[in-house]
């Protein structure tokens, strides 16, 4: 299968007042289209930094990310934004729903940013994650598990090539966590959605087809 997302020699150094801190040190990783991989490692090993770089939210100090055949190291910020909008969906640990909007509008906004018809597709997507009856509720009126399901609907409603999930079950109890992981798995299985899931939880990581371990900013050998 073709490679949809590739990290080539990714290094990220954060320049702080005290001293430069290397969060990533030459990471190479290739993700094939339709693959479900999890990236696992202890806190501070660079997992989230890797996710932000793969999602084109940050630029590497060295190395590059190749997304769907485009080397993103040599393109403008505007083009990177366009690629992110077209190809990437994010799910965050803290859900990051917009508090002032209903569940339906939270999902629809991802489509509106692309100038696409929004409401009916947002409703379909909410139905797909089992929240059709709660589409008018605001995030504060939903349980944490339901909020994360809205966040997944928002990430997938644009049919991104790659779903990047940063500790999506980190704030959930085990029951809600299982539901969210089942949901992610359900989108992966029939449609072949490419998924990169960041976690520090072994059980969560085992849900993926491939497990990549990180330590001290590097991919650890298996």
């Amino acid at each position: 299968m073709e490679t949809i997302l590739e990290a080539r020699g990714l290094t990220k150094v954060y320049r702080t007042r005290a001293a430069p801190t290397a969060a990533l040190r030459g990471v190479d990783l290739a993700v094939r289209r339709g693959e479900f991989i999890s990236v696992m490692g202890p806190s501070g090993c660079g997992k989230s930094t890797l996710l932000y770089l793969l999602g084109l939210l940050a630029t590497p100090t060295e190395g590059t990310v190749v997304l769907d055949g485009t080397d993103t190291g040599a393109i403008s910020d505007g083009r990177r934004t366009h690629l992110r909008r077209r190809h990437i969906g994010f799910v965050f640990q803290r859900f990051n729903l917009l508090a002032a909007l209903s569940a339906e509008d939270n999902v629809a906004i991802a489509l509106r940013l692309r100038h696409e018809a929004a409401q009916s597709r947002a409703r379909e997507m909410l139905a797909a994650v089992g929240l059709d009856d709660k589409r008018r509720r605001h995030p504060s009126e939903l349980s944490v598990g339901e909020q994360q399901r809205v966040a997944i609907a928002r990430a997938l409603v644009t049919r991104p090539d790659v779903l990047l999930a940063d500790e999506p079950t980190g704030n959930l109890d085990s029951e809600a966590s299982d539901r969210v992981l089942d949901l992610i798995g359900r989108f992966h299985q029939p449609s072949g959605q490419t998924i990169v899931l960041i976690t520090h939880n072994e059980k969560v990581a085992e849900r993926a087809e491939r497990l990549v371990r990180m330590r001290d900013g590097r991919i650890a050998p298996n």
């Binding site: 939210l57 934004t81 992110r84 909008r85 077209r86 994010f90 990051n96 917009l98 906004i109 940013l113």
Partner: protein, 150 residues
């Protein structure tokens, strides 16, 4: 007669006109101060709004919102505040006029339509100037730092 001076109608008109020049200066100063206050209020309101929504701006950027879209969102929200302010201002003016005429029926309170247009233009100008800096700040926010913002 001693102690009295006769003046022509033209002289009287000139005296009257020169006093209105002074009045225009006072009104102009008040308008300038009002415009400056409008600019400051919008600047502070929109800046606070942008800081409070740092995380939300990060989320929008993660979803692929461009700098232009974020800039446009902030300016649009400032525009809504401005529109609400203009409507409220016009209503207050109308209510004040009605109250004055109710209390003093012989007075004349004449506000030409062009004055409303000036007031709206002043508010719109103050809003654009006041919202420009916070909107640019929002558009240029680093998405990762925004997402990590507490």
């Amino acid at each position: 007669m001693r102690g009295l001076r006769a003046i022509t109608f033209d002289e009287y008109y000139d005296i009257l006109a020169s006093s209105f020049v002074d009045m225009d200066l006072v009104i102009g100063s008040v308008v300038f101060v009002a415009g400056f206050v409008c600019f400051l209020v919008i600047l502070l309101t929109v800046y606070t709004m942008v800081v409070e929504r740092t995380r939300e701006i990060g989320v929008l950027k993660a979803m692929g919102a461009s700098r232009t879209q974020v800039f446009g969102l902030v300016m649009a929200e400032a525009g809504l505040i401005c529109a609400a302010g203009i409507v409220a201002g016009f209503l207050l003016t109308w209510a004040s006029r009605a109250l004055i005429l109710d209390l003093q029926p012989l007075w004349t309170v004449d506000i030409p339509a062009v004055r409303f247009a000036y007031a709206a233009a002043l508010a719109a100008g103050g809003t654009v100037l006041g919202a420009l800096h916070p909107a640019r700040r929002a558009a240029r926010q680093d998405p990762v730092e925004s997402l990590r913002y507490e």
